[in-house]
Symmetry: C2
């Protein structure tokens, strides 16, 4: 399955359609609110036909996480990595994250914030998969900051700065969703700018 002569077969198209809808639903109602019957109805296909693609609810959830990770990488990481390493990339990463959140790539805001909170206190394969993504993401911020430190543009504890930046991102996403209002993004942008200004090396050109 998957591909024949480079051409997609029916089954794979369905799978993609299912997952695209899954990530959207889960970003609003979580991976539990994501029910197979509801998905099938919304897509106009049969519950059993949909189910056959994944074999279990948990496998659907894991596939949904992988699909969301791909979108996240495309929307947040790729644009930021077009900027050269250094303070500029740190700023670009922050901007692309806030844009990813505010433009509602997922209708419920950041997919991972939603479902990671949902599964934070439980255990199992879904929980573990979400930890992996979170660790990967935090290490990516840390590495981006560290590059700026090594370039001599910033003087800071990379892990601490990564923690702070991520805290601003998430606070903005959460507040904007809860109050259906974009003000929080301005607050976050201000927080990020101040925090970075407190650690830039003298003589470094500011990217904003």
């Amino acid at each position: 399955m998957e591909k024949v002569d480079g051409r997609l077969v029916r089954g794979d198209q369905t799978r993609r359609a299912v997952l695209r809808r899954s990530v959207d639903i889960a970003s609003v109602d979580g991976l539990e609110g994501l029910s197979i019957g509801r998905l099938a109805t919304e897509l106009g296909i049969s519950k059993s036909g949909l189910f056959a693609h994944f074999g279990s609810k948990e496998e659907l959830q894991l596939a949904t996480i992988r699909a969301a990770r791909r979108i996240y990488a495309d929307e947040v990481v790729t644009p930021a990595f077009e900027v050269e390493p250094g303070l500029g990339r740190v700023w670009a990463l922050s901007e692309s994250w806030l844009h990813y959140s505010s433009s509602r790539v997922f209708p419920g805001g950041c997919f991972f914030q939603k479902v990671s909170h949902e599964y934070a206190g439980r255990d199992g394969a879904v929980h573990d998969a979400l930890i992996d993504v979170h660790v990967e993401w935090m290490e990516l911020i840390e590495e981006t900051v560290r590059a700026a430190v090594e370039a001599g543009e910033v003087d800071a504890d990379a892990n601490q700065l990564a923690f702070d930046l991520n805290a601003y991102y998430e606070a903005a996403n959460f507040a904007s969703i809860l109050h259906d209002d974009g003000k929080a993004y301005d607050r976050a942008r201000q927080a990020i700018r101040s925090r970075l200004e407190s650690v830039v090396a003298a003589g470094t050109t500011l990217p904003w």
Copy 2:
């Protein structure tokens, strides 16, 4: 009902027991994961008897939120307000929040972070009640900061500083739950201290 000659009657005792269990369950599994059948089984009472106390699932959820708010006020706000207004109280509020989170007053960490994320993107009475609590909480931080500004101990935009502080609290709670590890509290404490140091007026005694 409620009280007779200052003595609690049966029904109220049951209600309290239910709500004490409800907030614990909801802090881990959310207000949806809070099912009436499960609650009844765990408490060793009948589903219908329990249900009769609230009349609907939504009313149970709202009562659970009110119960959690009372506990939150006792655990976070009351201790901090024993310190006089000013920088000291800002610091005390931060410390009591981190203690509230890390000591697992609710087994799933901060009750409100959990369920507010759960309902952030929906609407209805539960969503509205959670907004009210969130607004109340943010205003409380802002007012606490503003008092420090007016006391001349701090020079900052109160709303911005409140946003930042709250971001650190939530980031610490989330990370500690997801990774089952208390390191994040040290990071948060460091972030709070640095942020406050950046705005203290010269000559002010630091409370840490």
